[in-house]
């Protein structure tokens, strides 16, 4: 495959005496689904937040598609091709499902300092939003208030919003958290359908989903990557097994 789309080099972040990210090096290959797993408190979300710009690293660099984005604000990263979902569901509850996605598309289709033209007439945005909703299976919920969607549907909506920004890299922070079995299965299918079209960096606790989807898995423990490789290699890695002892079942 081509050069990595995302490269983390020597990333370090502490909260007081607690080192949450301890010299992380990571490369995500273009087109891959790359998963980060690790026990609770391993610093997965902190790592994702540094990539997304919600938290600033103390040291190290973040390179997206050849550009150093370490110090860039969140919205600027989005324009360079980074999109993300949040661990805690994060949609615009008062907007319709369709408008949630349309506004995301709008952010990447020219500027928004347009004051007089009715946005309802911007069919290009609406059509694109509708296409993204179809991808995640929410097309029939387009006109419902996003706040009224089920939890699993909101998670899917977040993915649709991310897709609407046409990202080079999709950061998904525990997309399956709190979803039912059927919803997890459906989300796994959705992500599987995105394989090859988008590069995905996935943080997830649902091991079945991770091992079904990931091309590469990195294992994060106490802020360090202790192992990295294909799912089969990770499954049998003794260090990984030790770290997970009593935590979760590895299939």
């Amino acid at each position: 495959m081509a050069d990595p789309i995302l490269e983390l080099a020597g990333l370090r972040k502490s909260y007081g005496a607690l080192t949450v990210t301890d010299g992380v090096n990571l490369a995500v290959k273009t087109g891959a689904i790359h998963a980060i797993i690790g026990p609770n408190g391993a610093g997965k979300t902190t790592l994702i937040n540094q990539i997304g710009g919600q938290a600033a690293p103390d040291a190290g660099t973040i390179i997206l598609d050849g550009r150093d984005i370490t110090g860039l604000p969140i919205h600027a990263r989005s324009h360079l091709g980074l999109a993300r979902s949040f661990q805690i569901t994060n949609v615009l509850p008062g907007f319709s499902t369709l408008d949630n996605v349309a506004v995301a598309a709008q952010a990447h289709a020219g500027h928004s300092f347009r004051f007089f033209r009715s946005v309802a007439r911007e069919t290009a945005l609406t059509e694109k939003a509708m296409a993204c909703l179809e991808t995640v299976g929410l097309a029939d919920r387009a006109l419902i208030r996003a706040g009224a969607l089920s939890h699993g549907e909101k998670r899917a909506l977040e993915i649709a919003m991310a897709l609407a920004t046409e990202p080079k890299l999709l950061l998904l922070d525990e997309p399956m958290a709190g979803t039912t079995h059927e919803e997890t299965a459906r989300l796994t299918e959705t992500l599987e359908a995105l394989r090859g079209r988008f590069t995905i960096l996935l943080v997830e606790h649902d091991m079945a989903a991770v091992f079904a989807l990931a091309d590469t898995i990195s294992v994060l423990v106490y802020g360090r990557v202790i192992a990295e490789g294909a799912p089969d290699a990770i499954r049998t890695d003794p260090e990984v097994r030790a770290a997970y002892l009593g935590e979760e079942e590895i299939p």
Partner: protein
């Protein structure tokens, strides 16, 4: 949605028609003074509209909104003091001055959120108030009497109360139109999106701060226009226009009418000033009655007066579309 849209248009058209018919009707019933009262109501309706843009649609609780009105009013008053009466100059100047003040103060205030934003806008409002109080060359605490009204291209038409009334009505209709376009535009959708979820809007690529600042300046300019009209109406400006109580009155108008509804803001201004007038007729302690009334409205009729005209509950969905 379409249904809601036409409903909104109907109510807007009805309200504007009532305003347009008021002077001849009032005259016919020998209540000509009502024209004068209604001018003031419409001026406050413009101010309430401008506040609703940022408070109702953008959830920016500005507690210093009266400052923009005051600055607009002083721009006209000070110009008159220097013998500049041309309204086609002074009114844009008033809007520009208020807009600049909004730009400078908004650039700082909008870096804060929630209670801090309320407090900092209040502080800037009070700064404007005390600055006006100390302008001894322009009346200081006592205010400044303006010996006439703005001219329109050298013509003193606005000296006539009815002419001023219709001038204010045109301004109100224009502001209303601009606001309704903005609310339904790309820009309006970003402002509403930031109200709904700022972190989400940043993550999909919007610079929330820049958009909010532009909205704040726009609202400031509109309130500046209201101030310029107020100065013409009263032929007097005073620091009291900028007091924090005035900012509070404006917030009450918007809440009373229904946040995030444009005709709600207009209805709110009408209802507030009418209630003030009626209740003040009974007792000088009219706020004792008005206060509990407002509490009841906030508790039991969220969505304000505008909700009474909607079929369903206070759905927020229609706001962005």
């Amino acid at each position: 949605m379409r249904d809601l849209l036409t409903r909104e248009r109907l109510i807007t058209a009805a309200l504007l028609t009532v305003f347009a018919l008021l002077p001849p009707v009032a005259e016919a019933f020998g209540q000509g003074y009502l024209t004068n009262v209604a001018s003031r109501v419409m001026i406050y309706a413009i101010a309430a509209l401008s506040l609703d843009l940022i408070l109702g649609y953008g959830a920016m609780v500005s507690f210093g909104h009266a400052a923009f009105i005051g600055i607009g009013a002083y721009a006209v008053g000070i110009s008159a003091e220097h013998n500049l009466w041309e309204g086609t100059l002074t009114i844009p100047m008033a809007m520009a001055a208020a807009g600049l003040f909004a730009l400078a103060t908004g650039a700082i205030s909008l870096r804060t959120r929630g209670v801090y934003f309320i407090m900092i806008t209040l502080a800037f409002g009070q700064m404007a108030y005390y600055t006006a109080s100390s302008l001894s060359a322009y009346g200081g605490d006592d205010g400044l009497t303006i010996w006439g009204r703005s001219e329109v291209l050298g013509n003193p038409v606005l000296e006539d109360d009815t002419a001023l009334y219709f001038f204010v009505l045109i301004c109100l209709a224009l502001c209303w139109w601009v606001a309704s376009r903005v609310v339904g535009s790309r820009f309006g959708r970003v402002i509403a999106g930031v109200r709904e979820n700022r972190a989400r809007m940043s993550a999909v690529g919007f610079d929330a701060y820049r958009h909010q600042l532009v909205a704040y300046v726009l609202a400031g300019m509109m309130a500046g226009l209201a101030g310029a009209l107020l100065a013409n109406h009263a032929e007097f400006v005073s620091p009291a226009y900028m007091s924090w109580q005035r900012s509070g009155d404006l917030i009450i108008m918007v809440v009373l009418g229904g946040m995030g509804s444009l005709y709600g803001a207009v209805l709110g201004a009408v209802a507030y000033l009418a209630l003030e007038d009626v209740l003040a007729g009974f007792t000088e302690h009219w706020r004792v009655i008005f206060g509990p009334l407002l509490i009841l409205i906030v508790l039991y009729a969220r969505g304000g007066l505008a909700r009474a005209f909607r079929r369903e509950g206070p759905s927020r969905e229609g706001r962005d579309g």
